[in-house]
């Protein structure tokens, strides 16, 4: 199969890049390893800050794919750059793809929370992750029919933590915690909700407003201190320990549920591909841009582009805007190599 552009990854970044490049009448092939397009937002119920349904966004993205050739259930097993500007890629199906540019829209992975053993994910039934909660929201289950008495959110799980080799801030989880806390409060108005945080990073438009709303309208309580350990009592409730750093006291609370805000880490599954192309990765495993300010979507290898969360945690609007700029860069590049 031949194409101008091969986009790897059918999440929001890959879909938007593919549809915008096909707007330039380029021949685009989009491959996605799952059987469905959407990536992480497939599992999400509603999106911050305004609660737009994730499925609406996904449907819009899918609808605008235009002439893009979509290959589901496909992934690369090898890729190489030829002497001229072409790339030759082989798929798991055995199919060979020849293309002029490659876009890595390979996204991120959610931190596997069981690695943070002191939090007991996978051991205690009532310790779940942000993604688990979204699945429950999607199914309409919430946390069950009965109102829980108390719920706690643990921020920075698998982020800002050298011990598990992830130094970076995942950027999206503070606001996600507040969004989810508010959603739970809407389902269970009498439940007490606590957020355990180190810093609250409410940098985006509307985020600080949501934080204020969480405090004022929903009475969600914030405790500054990283949760150090979680245990379970005989009745299955979970006991959380942290320091209340603002009063310099150790603190303990028994909760019905704990939601771990699993962070964003690099998708190491593609390291063999980035190696075959000699792409530069950062210490954090994300792909490095050739210039982190003006050429964020170009890599050290000409003809290889990168977009979305493959270069680090990003919000959806950021991903979509970046995808559009990537499409421009790819088109300019194709004009250059093809017309000499």
């Amino acid at each position: 199969m031949e194409g101008d552009v091969l986009v790897i990854g059918g999440g929001p970044a890959g879909m938007e890049t593919a549809s915008r490049i096909s707007d330039f009448n380029r021949n685009v092939i989009l491959i996605e390893k799952e059987r469905e397009l959407g990536g992480h937002i497939l599992k999400w119920d509603r999106l911050f800050p305004d609660g737009v349904p994730a499925s609406d966004v996904n449907n819009n993205l899918k609808e605008s794919l235009g002439t893009t050739k979509v290959l589901l259930g496909n992934y690369l097993i090898s890729i190489e750059k030829r002497e001229d500007y072409h790339f030759i890629a082989q798929l798991n199906s055995g199919e060979i793809i020849k293309c002029s540019t490659v876009v890595f829209a390979t996204g991120f992975k959610l931190f596997p929370a069981q690695k943070k053993q002191e939090y007991g994910y996978g051991l205690y039934e009532r310790v779940i992750t942000n993604a688990d909660l979204e699945t429950r929201f999607k199914k309409g289950d919430g946390l069950g029919k009965e109102s829980p008495k108390r719920i706690g959110f643990v921020h920075c799980v698998g982020s800002r933590d050298e011990k598990i080799c992830n130094k970076q801030c995942s950027k999206l989880c503070c606001i996600t915690a507040i969004k989810q806390a508010i959603e739970l409060k809407q389902l269970y108005p009498d439940t007490e909700i606590y957020c355990f945080y180190m810093d609250l990073r409410m940098y985006g438009r509307g985020y600080e407003d949501l934080y204020l709303e969480a405090q004022l309208k929903y009475g969600i309580r914030f405790i500054r201190g990283r949760v150090s350990e979680i245990s379970q009592d005989q009745s299955g409730l979970v006991i959380v320990k942290a320091e209340d750093t603002l009063s310099s006291r150790p603190l303990k609370i028994t909760l019905d549920w704990v939601i771990l805000m699993a962070g964003i880490i690099s998708e190491r599954e593609n390291d063999f591909l980035t190696q075959q192309l000699s792409l530069q990765l950062g210490e954090d495993g994300f792909i490095n841009s050739v210039d982190p300010i003006q050429k964020t979507n170009q890599t050290n290898i000409s003809g290889v582009f990168v977009t979305g969360s493959a270069t680090g945690p990003k919000t959806l609007p950021e991903v979509i805007n970046e995808a559009r700029s990537t499409a421009l860069s790819v088109n300019e590049y194709l004009n250059r190599v093809k017309n000499g």
Binding site: Q215, L216, R221, D244, L246, R249, P250, L251, K252, I253
Partner: protein, 111 residues
């Protein structure tokens, strides 16, 4: 009683399972703004009394939220109700009104 030469110290730990939230809920009902605090410390740093006394509004309302009312009381004792803290609070919390409510609460119910 025999003096064995040691004493038990009371726990410093905040136990939210058994905390006394009576005063906090009262303040919340009277002046909803108390829940808006972001612990920035502007109130405490501009406080006229803070340099010379233990007065610290930020910590006082935090401790009330955690049910440590007795300790909180000590942190507003020297307050002169000058209102500087209200002027500087970035979250628009009516700090002076809250201090007055705390005083009232204790005069009515504890003293």
């Amino acid at each position: 009683m025999v003096n064995f030469g040691f004493k038990l110290s009371s726990s410093k730990r905040i136990d939210l399972d058994s905390s006394d939230s009576d005063l906090f809920l009262k303040l919340k009902a009277e002046s909803g703004t108390i829940t808006q605090c972001i612990a920035c410390g502007s109130c405490a740093s501009s406080c006229s009394a803070g340099n010379f006394t233990p007065v610290n509004f930020r910590k006082a309302i935090l401790l009330i939220e955690r049910g440590r009312n007795e300790e909180a009381k000590e942190l507003i004792k020297g307050c002169m109700l000058c209102g500087k803290c209200t002027l500087v609070c970035p979250r628009g919390i009516n700090t002076r009104e809250i201090i007055l409510s705390i005083n009232q609460y204790y005069k009515k119910e504890r003293f």
